[in-house]
């Protein structure tokens, strides 16, 4: 978080010695605040003052990395409570549990399934982010951890309370930088020492927020710095409140004990409920949700929620401005155009799909604005539509010369007919929802 000039000035010697080359300490402080000078340019600053400034300028929520290299996942450094205040910076990762009850073969098969749990949705890959392996109940924790770590294409979480077993598992795969899950009041000392000596990130959970603050403090005193606040779902309201209070305390009050990303372990029967809870807690401040299910139908609703809620609200979602083919198009298929605002495009494309009438949709670049806003903001014109149709060589795809235009832009008809080869312009529906009936009626004629 950026410091103000005054905050910096308070920590300077205030001697106006000019050794930094500036006339006063205040002038120097202002330049440091503007990032034009480094604090170390002051030769007289005390170690204590520079440490306190470094701490104050640290982000209120730490960035934590799990895994290594390309096979790593970063969480934390979030800055806001609501996405409309700025944006959520890092997508929640889904962790799928690999229970200790599984045999080696079954565990390997589940890891394979996790590796394959990736889908492309609206042009973007969404996938499971962690293999979370239980080591408490297995005979040889090191062997199980190694088996999973070697096969997993996503970072690993080691689940266990027995510090001895966690230690042997962690030692075996520490080069993969797994997350240790989790320290509680009963094992905080040994888990924190393990995290400190191996430099592995550690999840810490308490029976309430006060205890959690004590435990993260304790872990840090032992040298464990990469922490994650861990919550469970025994009481759904409490889980939400704890996640909310911890995040507010970190972001608004810079409460250091909670200055870490959060994760939530979902335990719910039946599994269907787990999906909904996973999505809820992903939207509400959990950087990781740990779940038991591994079926696509359980995971996809959570992944899609994350995909939506973690988009940047300051940037309009757009699709590429080009010609899209919906269904098995042929030379007699209808042609229509719309804007590159993704919401508009996907509504139109979805309704065309529903109509079961194959059609071409030519997307015009409106800088991410919907039809009316684009028209009002001069981001779409008949000329631009004609130009896009030409660039996409649409006339070569179909033998007819009929163009369906959005019902909200009837005013474009004459100009398009007069200035292009699209000699018959048909005014389509105002609302995407009316497209199926419209296309089906057209197809019959």
């Amino acid at each position: 978080m950026a410091l103000t000039g005054m905050q910096i000035y308070k920590n300077l010697p205030k001697t106006n010695c000019k050794d930094c080359g500036l006339p006063t300490c205040m002038a120097f402080a202002m330049q440091v605040a503007a990032k034009q000078r480094a604090l170390s340019d002051c030769p007289h600053i005390s170690e204590e003052a520079s440490e306190s400034l470094a701490e104050a300028s640290a982000p209120p929520m730490k960035l934590i990395k799990i895994g290594i290299g390309e096979n790593s996942y970063e969480i934390g450094q979030e800055t806001v409570m609501f996405r409309h205040e700025e944006k959520f910076h890092r997508r929640t990762g889904i962790a799928v549990r690999i229970p200790s009850s599984l045999s080696d073969e079954e565990a390997t098969a589940l890891v394979e399934k996790i590796n394959k749990s990736a889908w492309v949705r609206v042009g973007d890959t969404i996938k499971v982010s962690f293999s979370a392996v239980e080591v408490d109940g297995v005979d040889d924790p090191g062997k199980r951890a190694k088996l999973v770590a070697e096969n997993s294409k996503v970072p690993v979480i080691l689940i266990g309370r027995d510090a001895g077993k966690m230690k042997s598992a962690a030692e075996t795969i520490k080069h993969k930088n797994p997350l240790l899950y989790r320290a509680e009041s009963s094992n905080i000392d040994t888990m924190a020492e393990l995290s400190a000596s191996t430099k592995l990130p550690l999840a810490v959970g308490g029976s309430n927020l006060e205890e959690l603050a004590d435990l993260t403090n304790k872990a840090r005193e032992k040298g464990a710095e990469n922490l994650i606040l861990s919550f469970k779902t025994d009481n759904l309201g409490d889980t939400l409140r704890s996640l909310t209070i911890a995040r507010r305390a970190a972001l608004r009050q810079r409460f250091r004990e909670f200055g870490y990303p959060a994760m939530t372990e979902i335990t719910a029967e039946p599994l269907e409920e787990e999906t909904v809870l996973g999505a809820i807690y992903a939207a509400k401040y959990s950087a990781i949700v740990l779940i038991n299910g591994s079926e696509p139908w359980e995971i996809l609703p959570i992944l899609t929620t994350i995909q939506d809620v973690y988009t940047n609200p300051q940037v309009p979602n757009t699709v590429e401005a080009k010609l899209y083919e919906i269904g098995n198009v042929a030379e007699n298929s209808p042609v229509m155009f719309t804007t590159n605002f993704s919401l508009t495009y996907f509504s139109v494309a979805g309704e065309v799909e529903r109509s079961k009438v194959p059609a071409y949709i030519c997307v015009v670049d409106t800088e991410g604005l919907g039809v009316l806003n684009a028209y009002a903001g001069d981001k779409i014109s008949a000329e631009k539509v004609v130009k896009t149709l030409q660039e996409q060589k649409v006339v070569e795809k179909v033998k007819h010369r009929k163009l369906i235009i959005p019902g909200l832009l009837p005013i474009f008809r004459a100009e398009i007919e007069d200035t292009s080869e699209w000699e018959e312009v048909i005014i389509g529906p105002e609302n995407a929802r009316e497209i199926p009936a419209f296309l089906q009626k057209m197809a019959k004629q």
Binding site: F82, L240, E273, I280, A283, P301, P436
Partner: protein, 318 residues
């Protein structure tokens, strides 16, 4: 260790809106439903109260919607009759109230007459004793014809009638005033228009304490983020003292979700996406559950399994 006090000091409350009327109140419902009244964001009981739980309204239409078989089969043959459908939703699916959509009135669907529509309203009111939400077909001109008749048929029942938009609010205000119903104000995923419609309703002499906001609902994956954020922003504005945004909010989850690919297409079209019989209901339940946490007070839902999952979560979240 002492935790810092992070309570928000909200200055206002969300309006309480009651739907339905019992015999003492001039109606025939066995109970009424009240939503709103919160003095904080959903479930944050450490800084305020949420006196009424989120309610589930069962989606019922006068005409069979264009829905996938997984949904139609789950509802059963009763889906062909709004009366039987409403009964089953109340008795078996356990919904709190009924949301009746008169889609058959749409000139592009069946172009049903005002008399046909008001008959459906009367029949549903007779068949179930829970409060009723009545929506037109969405075609403004046609709704101007059917809604007055429907409103009159339900006079005294204190229904929630939808929806008032910039284009048709005068008619809705007139009939809701005359027949003493509550209004749904609708905006097309635009918080500013949402506020504008409320101003129009107020200017037309309608008490905003009798209004529920409908920000239009997006299905999960299709503009969900916009609606999620509008629900949150509207709720925050209401708690911060903006009387024009202090209404309870309704989401038509069932009416939206069952149109999108993820809830309609099985594995033959979406290989590797898991069986639709499981994925579809979860698409609806997830969408509803997350909207509830953004500030939705009434969730209109269709699939019995989705209703049952969300019901359990509502009951368990305190």
């Amino acid at each position: 260790m002492q935790i810092p006090d992070v309570k928000e000091k909200w200055v206002s409350r969300i309006n309480e809106v009651t739907i339905g009327a019992t015999s003492e109140q001039g109606g025939t419902r066995s109970k009424t439903i009240t939503v709103g009244g919160q003095s904080t964001l959903p479930f944050l009981s450490f800084e305020g109260e949420s006196p009424h739980k989120t309610v589930i309204a069962g989606y019922v239409a006068d005409t069979l919607p264009n829905w996938p078989d997984v949904l139609k089969d789950a509802i059963g043959k009763e889906i062909n009759s709004p009366v039987e459908w409403a009964q089953k939703a109340v008795e078996e699916f356990g919904v709190d109230l009924i949301s009746l959509r008169l889609i058959g009135a749409d000139p592009a669907v069946k172009d049903k007459s005002p008399e046909e529509c008001s008959k459906v309203v009367q029949d549903v009111l007779k068949a179930v004793d829970v409060p009723l939400i009545i929506w037109g077909c969405g075609d403004d001109e046609k709704d101007n014809h059917i809604l007055p008749e429907c409103s009159q048929a339900a006079k005294g029942e204190n229904c929630l009638i939808g929806s008032a938009k910039e284009t048709n609010y005068m008619t809705i205000v007139a009939l809701c005033k005359a027949d003493k119903h509550k209004i749904i104000s609708e905006a097309p995923v635009d918080i500013n228009i949402g506020k504008q419609v409320n101003i129009l309703l107020q200017d037309a002499g309608f008490d905003l304490k009798d209004v529920v906001m409908f920000q239009t609902t997006a299905a999960l994956g299709y503009g969900f983020d916009y609606v999620y954020t509008i629900l949150e922003r509207a709720r925050i504005a209401g708690l911060k003292g903006d009387n024009l945004m202090a209404m309870p909010q309704i989401c038509d989850v069932g009416g939206e979700v069952w149109r999108v690919k993820e809830a309609v297409a099985d594995e033959d079209i979406l290989p590797g996406w898991g069986k639709l019989s499981k994925r579809g209901p979860l698409w609806e339940a997830t969408c509803a559950g997350v909207y509830m946490h953004a500030g939705a007070d009434i969730l209109v839902m269709a699939h019995p399994e989705a209703i049952s999952i969300v019901r359990k979560i509502i009951e368990k979240t305190e």
